[in-house]
């Protein structure tokens, strides 16, 4: 290789890419902290003061909102990881698990808002589940007076969140499962007289946890700060803190912005505190683990309840996802659907027609945002990964674990804690309400996910193929485009679809940075869901789901088609 003293062109990309998703976070945090302490020149406040905090703590809903946030946020995260653990213990490794793996991609591609809407059609007192119970058991001649949805303590929120996050945790675990050597660990444990459950609880799960710690932190941060799902499934008056803050930010009285900023900062502090406590909790748990391993007390029964429970769980969750999509589909065509009928009495396409009229602009906005952010993110990430290849070759070894925290940063900082500040910064440079600013705000979240999805397979690529191609063809670009790129086509397309889906699901960025100029299918769906027209909401929720699903379908079909006669390129 030429030894050159100049900076290699690839070397700027890590910096550029990091800047893309870090600058908004930093600017945003600063832009939110200042107003939180009273400094908001835009509305004439140019003195640091604690008034916003006073107003915040005096807000009638504040403390109850904090309580609900903590309950639902921590509850959902704990439930999600518990469900993941049970599923793994009970079904890994097995053919059933492989089947689960295959349906994960479509399940993950369901956008949050669409999922929450679907759940609402299932578990409300007049929802499908109750109707089913009435048809089968005759228990509910009239819808019961229970509050099964949007209940004041956030149980429905916890369930909805946990159901959405568990597939994500499962997906992140998939990559590390092979390295756990489960069969060996189980064998070892049994040879020492302890059961399989022992091996899982004290050997495998702790190892797994270490590897999926960052995704778990992202889940905690998400559960504590989500707005769209909380709007749909969470308690209403008073709502969770994130929703409360959004209301404050949209209050016609501009002074409330500072209170909102104080609230956002509080939420940031809550998230950081929760993450810290979770991190510190490892120490006592580790001691517990050592104690158990030393004393080795464990009954030797084979996993008595884990396997059946995991099976029931997996099937149950799959069923929920299926039913929620199905019932949304049915609602979109329902004209008249009385309780307790399982299917509507009258069908009509009126809702579809009405949505069709008004969906033109949000649809294209959603579509272009998603395609552009996925493409740009993909290009940036590939260039960063290629630079990594170059660096690994130069330095022999390359530790990428520190960089991982950086990638996760936009996923750990609450969206609401920095989007407001970012919007303020954009106003200063005149980009407020511009498409490019909206695109940038989406990129902040799309880039990390694309990186996380692509980096694993990309790093595993055997670079000798590239060197071989280079020595054969005597040119770099053909070596890359005709050999490396096609060999990585499946992971690349998959990463693209993931980026696309992430952009579709974004709610707050469009709300804040769009500044009212742009609306996407997601913002429309969430807005419509707080109204009472179920049919229109259903149609919008389906539109929201169709887009990522079709891209995922393409991403699966394209390589399958292209490599149909290449046995070595089939998916494992």
């Amino acid at each position: 290789m030429e030894k050159t003293r100049q900076v290699h062109p690839l070397a700027i990309f890590p910096l550029l890419t990091t800047g893309v998703f870090l600058i908004p976070v930093i600017l945003g945090l600063l832009g939110t902290w200042l107003p939180a302490f009273g400094y908001f020149p835009a509305i004439g406040l140019d003195r640091i003061s604690l008034q916003p905090w006073v107003d915040l703590f005096n807000h009638p809903s504040f403390f109850s909102a904090v309580a609900k946030t903590l309950i639902s946020g921590i509850g959902a995260s704990v439930l999600a990881i518990l469900l993941t653990a049970i599923l793994l213990i009970g079904t890994y490794p097995s053919r059933f698990f492989n089947a689960i793996e295959r349906v994960l991609a479509p399940i993950l591609s369901v956008p949050h808002a669409a999922f929450a809407i679907g759940i609402s059609y299932l578990i409300t007192p007049s929802g499908w589940f109750i109707r089913g119970a009435e048809s089968v058991f005759g228990w509910f001649p009239v819808p019961p007076l229970w509050t099964t949805f949007q209940d004041p303590w956030g149980v429905s929120l916890i369930i909805t969140l946990a159901l959405k996050e568990m597939p994500f945790l499962l997906f992140m675990s998939l990559a590390v499962l092979p390295s756990l050597n489960t069969s060996k660990a189980l064998w070892l444990s049994k040879s020492m007289g302890n059961g399989a459950r022992f091996a899982w609880l004290w050997l495998l799960l702790p190892q797994l946890y270490r590897q999926i710690k960052l995704p778990f932190f992202a889940v905690i941060a998400f559960s504590l700060t989500v707005v769209d799902i909380a709007l749909i499934a969470g308690p209403t008056t008073p709502p969770t803190l994130a929703v409360l803050i959004t209301q404050l930010f949209n209050d016609p009285n501009l002074l409330q912005r500072t209170v909102g900023a104080a609230g956002a900062t509080t939420l940031l502090a809550l998230v950081m505190a929760s993450l810290l406590i979770t991190h510190l909790a490892e120490w006592p748990l580790r001691e517990l683990r050592s104690a158990f391993i030393r004393h080795g007390r464990q009954t030797s029964h084979w996993m008595s309840w884990e396997k059946p429970m995991a099976l029931v769980l997996a099937l149950g969750i799959g069923l929920v996802y299926l039913c929620s999509t199905l019932v949304t589909f049915i609602w979109s065509f329902a004209q008249r659907w009385r309780f307790p009928d399982i299917l509507p009495n009258e069908f009509s396409v009126r809702a579809w027609a009405r949505v069709f009229e008004r969906i033109g602009e949000p649809f294209w906005c959603t579509f272009w945002l998603a395609i552009l952010s996925a493409c740009i993110a993909l290009v940036l990430v590939i260039l960063v990964l290629e630079n990594e290849v170059r660096l690994r070759w130069q330095r022999g070894r390359f530790d990428t674990s520190k960089a991982l925290w950086l990638i996760y940063l936009p996923l750990l900082v609450p969206q609401i804690a920095f989007l407001f500040g970012f919007q303020v910064a954009l106003i200063q440079i005149g980009w407020d309400g511009q498409f490019i600013a909206l695109l940038w705000s989406h990129l902040v979240f799309v880039v990390p996910y694309v990186f996380l999805t692509l980096s694993g397979p990309y790093r595993k690529f055997d670079d000798r193929f590239f060197w071989q191609a280079l020595s054969l063809r005597q040119a770099r670009y053909p070596a890359y485009w005709r050999i490396k790129f096609p060999m990585l086509l499946r992971p690349i397309l998959y990463a693209f679809s993931t980026g696309f889906a992430v952009s579709i699901a974004q709610y707050l960025p469009t709300l804040f940075i769009g500044a009212g100029y742009f609306s996407t299918i997601t913002t429309e769906a969430v807005a419509m869901s707080t109204g009472s027209d179920r049919r229109m909401t259903a149609v919008l929720a389906l539109w929201q789901q169709i887009l990522p699903l079709s891209i995922f379908a393409l991403a699966t079909l394209l390589p399958a088609l292209r490599f149909r006669s290449r046995r070595a390129m089939q998916q494992r």
Binding site: M1, E2, K3, W393, Q394, R395, G396, D462, R464, F465, W467, Q468, A469, L470, S471, L472, R473, Q474, A475, R476, A479, R482, I483, P486, M487, L489, R562, F563, S565, R566, R567, A568, M569
Partner: protein, 211 residues
């Protein structure tokens, strides 16, 4: 003609082996042997142009009077064959073979050359086959043909026989060196199995220099 003059590689200031001074004429083989870790594969990497910068390489490498060090990987015209055949999985046999063929040949000429090469290797009719359906021996043969078709001026063999089973090895070895003789280019072979070395080769044994 390929030659190494006062050639030495060091890592972190420590030299890996004594300076090498040797040359290989066309149709001749230079065999480099030594224990694992003695630097054999590093030499190969250096000659083909992909020596990681943690290593320092001194001395001259010249191929047909060209100083190889001044050329980037893709311009060196050095072919390399690894233990793994590294056939491109997403291309069939024909596409793998045509990848190395120079642009100057027309499609008809390319087809002719490939068919002749396949016939020489007893693999006629295999051009449309998916490489995943080939046996280990067939893949190894295709891999060599692919490298030879790119018309290198020097060929490096990095333990290319070690993954083949014993029965196949002898046969494959003979075939490989017959092909190489036809090509009229020098060969550098790296191996730790002395049986792999054809008679009449120059042999260099790398002693690991212990600090």
């Amino acid at each position: 003609m390929f030659s190494l003059t006062d050639y030495q590689i060091s890592l972190h200031g420590k030299v890996l082996f004594k300076p090498i001074n040797t040359s290989v004429a066309n149709q001749k083989v230079l065999a480099i042997t030594g224990a694992s870790g003695s630097g054999k594969s590093t030499i190969m990497a250096d000659i083909s142009g992909v020596l990681p910068p943690v290593f320092t390489s001194t001395g001259q490498i010249s191929l047909n009077s060209k100083d190889l060090r001044s050329l980037p990987v893709e311009k060196r015209k050095v072919g390399i064959l690894f233990q793994d055949d590294l056939l491109f999985p997403h291309l069939n046999v024909y596409e793998n073979l045509v990848f190395g063929l120079a642009k100057k040949w027309t499609t008809a000429e390319k087809e002719k050359r490939i068919c002749e090469a396949l016939a020489d290797a007893n693999l006629q009719g295999y051009d449309k086959r998916d490489i995943a359906t080939l046996s280990g021996g067939q893949r190894a043969r295709i891999s060599l043909i692919r490298t030879l078709l790119s018309e290198p001026e020097l060929i490096l063999l990095d333990e290319p026989f070690s993954k083949l089973d014993k029965a196949l090895r002898q046969q494959f070895r003979q075939w490989v060196f017959a092909q190489l003789e036809n090509m009229n280019i020098p060969t550098v072979l790296v191996t730790h199995d002395l049986d792999d070395i054809p008679t009449g080769s120059t042999v260099i044994h790398l002693e690991t220099i212990h600090a």
